[in-house]
């Protein structure tokens, strides 16, 4: 593929995809104009943008190694806060509430971040330092201001990125972060209804240390799900231990009220009453399908849990209790 370098004036172009060529990662840049990332997930906004013929046809490619240099040419906002989560626990509600304000840049589960963060699964010789450099580069590029209104920048990571919390912290040691979790049975039921990529053995590499893909695939789905979620929770607890000042644990039950109070306080982000009202309005809608009103499904999920799910939920009880006790120790902050 021919590599087309960015022009000097590239304010309205954003990185949308990372691909590998000749053992090196390259970044695709798409003309985004002033489009904000308002959809529940990053890729949905890009998919929407791909309906614009110009954005589809004309794209630049740059080596990921050049991201740092590009960020000097086009400095973006420093991240205000990071959102980590165990999956299926309300993290999209948080990102949608934040994205309801035009002053917030909200990047939700962006595939370019994922590709660079997990680059060592493609080439194990890639060092942590290299990945940290790329991570700073891609996060810097995604935080580029395309409107003078933008003052805050939030990133919601994929659930499995919790396993990389230590590396992310090394890249951004001063950025406050939260870990969101939920009653385990409700999370497992959600994955049994429709599994995420992280619950397909081998789809994202080895998420369970000591088990190969075959062993993972032989395991009951409920148990595999519980073990993966347990890894995410343990990783968050481990990083909390190392970095208590920047960390905040949040239970799904605290949503949505915690977003405009505890979480924004933790991120050091202040908003007007009108902004808070707007975020609360966004919370009334289903985060993953914002055209419909939000209806709590906690009871339905509990009722749906069969014996295998309950057993898997019990496996997660100790780590859930630990998260709960640690969260209670953090209050009041």
């Amino acid at each position: 593929m021919d590599v087309r370098h960015l022009p000097v004036n590239f304010e309205e172009w954003m990185p949308i995809r990372v691909f590998w060529q000749d053992h090196r990662p390259y970044v695709d840049w798409c003309y985004m104009q002033k489009d904000r990332f308002v959809h529940p997930f990053f890729d949905m906004t890009i998919q929407h943008r791909m309906h614009d013929p110009f954005s589809l046809l004309f794209q630049y490619q740059t080596p990921a190694d050049e991201l740092a240099e590009l960020n000097i040419m086009r400095p973006g906002l420093e991240p205000t806060g990071f959102v980590f989560h165990m999956s299926r626990c309300g993290s999209t509600l948080i990102s949608q509430m934040l994205a309801s304000l035009s002053r917030n840049i909200v990047i939700s589960e962006a595939s370019p971040i994922d590709t660079l963060l997990r680059a060592n699964t493609v080439d194990s010789s890639i060092s942590d330092e290299t990945r940290i450099g790329w991570l700073r580069g891609i996060i810097g590029a995604l935080g580029s201001k395309r409107s003078s209104d933008e003052t805050h920048y939030f990133i919601k990571f994929d659930s499995w990125h919790t396993l990389y919390l230590e590396l992310i912290h090394r890249a951004f040691p001063n950025v406050p972060w939260i870990f969101l979790y939920r009653e385990p049975v409700e999370v497992i039921v959600s994955h049994m209804r429709q599994s995420g990529a992280q619950m397909v053995p081998g789809a994202l590499g080895h998420l369970l240390p000591g088990l190969d893909v075959f062993e993972s695939a032989q395991m009951p789905r409920e148990e595999y799900c519980a073990r993966v979620v347990e890894q995410f929770c343990e990783s968050a607890l481990s990083q909390l231990d190392k970095d208590p000042h920047n960390a905040l644990l949040v239970n799904y039950d605290q949503l949505p009220e915690a977003v405009t109070s505890t979480i924004l306080d933790h991120f050091g982000a202040a908003y007007s009453d009108r902004d808070i009202e707007k975020m609360n309005m966004a919370a009334k809608f289903d985060a993953k399908n914002p055209r419909t009103q939000f209806v709590s499904d906690s009871e339905g999920k509990k009722n749906e849990a069969n014996e295998a799910v309950m057993k898997a939920g019990e496996m997660l009880a100790p780590v859930y209790e630990k998260l709960e006790s640690m969260r209670k120790l953090q209050q009041p902050k």
């Binding site: 087309r4 022009p7 003309y31 104009q33 890729d43 998919q47 791909m50 013929p53 110009f54 794209q59």
Partner: protein, 81 residues
Amino acid sequence: MQQNNNQDNSGQNNNGENFERFLRCVLSDISLQEQLQGIDDKKKFIAATVELGAANGFVFGTLEVESAMRRNQQQWIERWM
């Protein structure tokens, strides 16, 4: 402005080369980009691209533009693979 030296040649291969050169030309020239940005209708956009190419000495057809758009769409769809 970069000019196409093969404009007298015909055939699909030359059209493909001309189109690739036009792509590079547009990506390095913001004034050319501005002439194509904001055309929402796909058919009108493709026609405008072919016309702009010809006006700048790059002869190619709608086929090259459509193929490139399809290729980019495919690459986006296959980003997880």
